[in-house]
């Protein structure tokens, strides 16, 4: 069994919810989730984020669902750290 310890995601999302609320929504998905969000580009209706999430066992499906629920779209998974147990 392998657990995901780190993800770096390229995400496009609308301006609302803002980056702080977006990060809080992701951090609330599990205990110990540490989320960093960096806004890399801002357009009229959207913004591009570089999202890094660290944790003992990240649930990628739930993270992706939360991104979509907040209006976001996952463009790419840029970095992954997986730990074998």
């Amino acid at each position: 069994m392998a657990s995901v310890r780190h993800l770096t995601l390229d995400v496009l999302k609308p301006h609302q919810p803002n980056a702080l609320e977006f990060a809080q929504a992701l951090a609330g998905l599990g205990p110990g989730y540490e989320v960093r969000v960096r806004v890399t580009e801002v357009d009229e209706h959207t913004e591009t984020l570089l999202v890094t999430i660290d944790g003992e066992a990240l649930d990628f499906e739930r993270i992706n669902e939360a991104i979509e629920a907040n209006g976001g779209s996952l463009h790419s998974i840029d970095e992954v750290v997986v730990h074998s147990e």
Binding site: L12, K13, P14, Q16, P17, E21, D43, E44, H45, T46, E65, E68, A69, N70, G71, S73
Partner: protein
Amino acid sequence: MPPAPLKLLLKVSGSGAIMRRYFVVNGFDGALTLLGLLMGFHISDSPDLQVVITSCLATTLALGVSGVSSAYISEAAERRSSLAELERAMVSDLKESHHARAAFWIPWLVALTNGSAPFLIGLVIIVPLWLARGGVPMPADPLLLAMGTALVVIFSLGVFLGRIGGIFWFWSGLQALAVALATLGLIRLLG
């Protein structure tokens, strides 16, 4: 995905200020309409109290239904348009997002706010008429008391707007009151 809390839907749709504006604008419409109706009865010859109550109630109900339907139709169209524009910008389907839920629910909330404002305010204004009809001794003509209540409500809406806009509350209340008194004056001239 659990249902999104109302606060979140208001946030993603930016609807908090819109609902507040709808409440005040249509509440003001309702109060002024009833004030005009009451003034019309006041300058008529000895109106029957039951006729006044029924007329005011019918007007209040009509304003409420009008508020709900007009706001829903316009807001639903606006929200659909905004969602479609956002989907084009995102180049993706947002149907599973809070934005899509907001596009569905917010028009209903705005419509209920828009309709309930004149309805509830109207009910408050005709309380003196109901009390008089129920046999409660009144210190003055119930029509005048109802008109006084309407003026107080209108002043309060002005105060509320003043506090939102950050201007002196008493001044904004007086502005709203001046509009109401000017309306009464016009009706008096016509009558």
